[in-house]
Amino acid sequence: MSDAVIAARWQFAFTIMFHYLFPVLTMGLGVLIAVMKTIELRTGERAYGAAARFWARIFAITFATGVVTGIPMEFQFGTNWARFSHYAGPVVGQTLFMEGVFAFFAESSFLGVFLFGEQRVRPMLHWLSSVMVAAGAVLSGFFIVATNAWMQHPVGYEIVNGRAELTSLWALVSNPYARWQYPHVIMGSLITASMVIAGIGAFYLLARRHEESGRIFLRVGVVSGAICSVLAMFPTGAFHGENITRFQPAKMAAMEGLFKTQEGAPLAIIGMPDREKQDLMDPIVVPGLLSYLAYGNFHARVTGLSDIPPDEQPPIEIVYYAYHIMVGLGTIFIAVLAISAFLLWRGTLFDTRGMLWILMLAMPFPYIANHAGWVVAEVGRQPWVVYGLQRTMHADSTNVTPAMTYFTLFGFMGLYLLVGLLYLLLFLRIVAAGPGGARDEAPLGTIGSGAAVAGGRS
């Protein structure tokens, strides 16, 4: 693989992973804010309105950071992956274009109303704008996953004159690969938002500040988190796994560290894949379980890496560990959130300080699990950029040199470091200020809110 491809891969990996830190929160958070607005509208409980306004502040800075780090993503297909764009543009362009005209426009138009218009429009319209912002974010996720699913499992195309031509838009948007990948991604996002909401709620109770809001945050976060963490494993995760076995056996073998094709294949809980010895080091396995998960039969035959040509194998170690980190964390989330939900039902969660500490400290982990999942998806697809059709080493821009890419990669690193620090600073300030107070009387966004707060203080 040429230096130029390696540089371009580093740049894409860095910029997409940094970018996804933000939409992974906003997709789920948008939905949960709409839920809180709905509860407020139906029950008239003002505390839920205050909670929605507080999270809308977090949403605003997260969304803004997601937008500014997202714009480079769409353009990088052209700057660094020109041969991919040329080859696959007629197909993946459709979903990227649809994201623009269907999702982004709705999202951005209603976001203005949602953030600035609470005192300007009727309550129903404000509620509708919160729903539309959530719908736009979740729809935007769909088009991205549909694009990615085509790169994982190309459908609805034919190759004409050495490039892909779309034959069926319906096949593209109903790709069987996306059918479980998409709900799985959305569950990941909802878990992230739920655990962040619950974590901040736990912090408020532990710090004995804003306790009324803290209890609401915990209630919303724990209930939604418990449901979504189970749904992430079954059915979405389990059936997506079956799809990977069917469509991308090499990825499945790397995920599970399965070197030899066998019947009754075992599931490795832990173990270190050793590529030289073609075996797992110090494994703990459950016999037959991998066959069952992949085919619903404990004796089914599962393809191992030894039956896959070396030039079609993904980097095993990265895929194996990323997958195990994702599944391991997912299992822990189910346990933590189920126990929390049980305590909530018993009415003792708010006084169980040990559990509150766990919920607070758990906040970073859903981000890690989501990112690990995408590493499995993307690194597991290697050496292909479009599975079975175009290799990554044939996808870059031939007129961009490695030096140009490293130059911009370092530029992105510096800029994103600054962006990340500023985001954290603002996040912590919003949490420190807490829900309610003078800020809640001002609109949520730019319009004079600074001046209004200053007025409230002086």
Partner: protein, 337 residues
């Protein structure tokens, strides 16, 4: 036929971007001069606060339509203009943060830092977009494989710099008209005065650009001589600039803004009319005939499908657009005490 329709669609999306994001870029370019203190600058940002993000989506949608309709143009131009495009991305990032982060902390130092970031990045973006238009008109140095490396020494030539100046002055004029429309008092008076001055700069840059085009891009007039009705487009630009001048003088802010919007759209439409059917012409002496709406296009099936998506999508977008600007009509309310 379908290729020509897509040429029009792409031109429409880019013109939509230039008109809509144009006024908030213009506000940014003038920000430090037009707003005399923190309060006025907050007021200026408030005028674009709820709409700038939606305006910027036009750029993404234009990029999306380029990927789907003309993937070879997207691939060759974005990788060819690599460093310039990355600079654009970084500036867009700083600018977006300037607008969204500025009001998060009420402290003069914080606000001033973001004011400068917002203003400088907006100014440079307006300049770079103008430079880009200049280079598209002039052509790029393709190699035999239809690729090029647009280093800054190639991109920054006298002609494209005139384009950059035209970009800055026209968008600043457009922004000043928007500011006059959305504010009142001292700020409005100052915005009108700025617009009056910028009008001369913009018209002068436009005249220079047109004159230089005859020299740099002689083929540019072919379409206009073959289809004389196309001359209506530059005529509309000229008429709009007269209307703009008079409306500014009369304090008719709405007409002035609509006229500056027509100028921005008309300038881009004239460029498109002159280029057709080329998308990215070759610089004189290049061993490649350039990218046009045929050799850069997706296969017809992809074009047809995407056109259906577009027609449906743009209908929705128009509904949002009308309603959103209706909700935010009138003077921007500020909550200062």
């Amino acid at each position: 036929m379908i290729n020509s329709i897509w040429f029009v669609v792409l031109a429409l999306m880019l013109a939509g971007y230039a008109v809509l994001d144009g006024f908030d870029l213009g506000i940014g370019a003038l920000h430090l001069l037009l707003g005399r203190d923190g309060k006025e600058r907050a007021q200026l940002i408030d005028t674009i606060g709820p709409v700038w993000n939606g305006n910027e989506v036009w750029l993404l949608a234009a990029g999306g339509s380029m990927v789907v309709a003309f993937p070879s143009l997207y691939a060759a131009s974005f990788s060819g203009f690599y460093l310039a495009l990355m600079l654009v991305l970084w500036l867009l990032l700083l600018r977006g943060l300037g607008i969204e982060f500025r009001h998060q902390i009420h402290h003069p130092m914080w606000e001033h830092a973001w004011d400068v970031a917002f203003s400088v990045s907006s100014l440079l973006l307006a300049l770079l977009f103008g430079v880009a238009v200049g280079n598209v008109l002039r052509g790029v140095p393709f190699d035999a494989n239809g690729q090029f490396q647009g280093s800054f020494t190639v991109l920054l030539n006298p002609f494209s710099i005139v384009g950059g100046v035209l970009g800055v002055t026209t968008l600043a004029l457009h922004g000043a008209c928007w500011a006059a429309l959305k504010t009142d008092g001292d700020l409005q008076r100052r915005a009108r005065r700025f617009a009056g001055g910028l009008w001369f700069a913009s018209v002068a840059a436009l005249a220079l650009m047109v004159a230089a085009s005859f020299v740099v891009s002689p083929n540019f007039t072919d379409n206009f001589t073959r289809y004389p009705f196309l001359l209506a487009i530059p005529a509309i630009v000229a008429a709009a600039s007269v209307v703009n001048r008079r409306a500014i003088a009369a304090g008719a802010d709405r007409s002035a803004f609509l006229a500056s919007a027509t100028m921005v759209a008309g300038i881009l439409a004239s460029v498109a009319a002159g280029l057709y059917p080329m998308l990215l012409p070759p610089l004189a002496g290049s061993p490649y005939p350039g990218l046009d709406i045929y050799n850069a296009a997706s296969p017809p099936g992809s074009l047809r499908t995407a056109l259906m998506i577009y027609l449906f999508g743009i209908t929705l977008v128009s509904i949002y657009l009308v309603n959103i600007y209706r909700i935010w009509r009138g003077k921007t309310r500020t909550y200062s005490v």
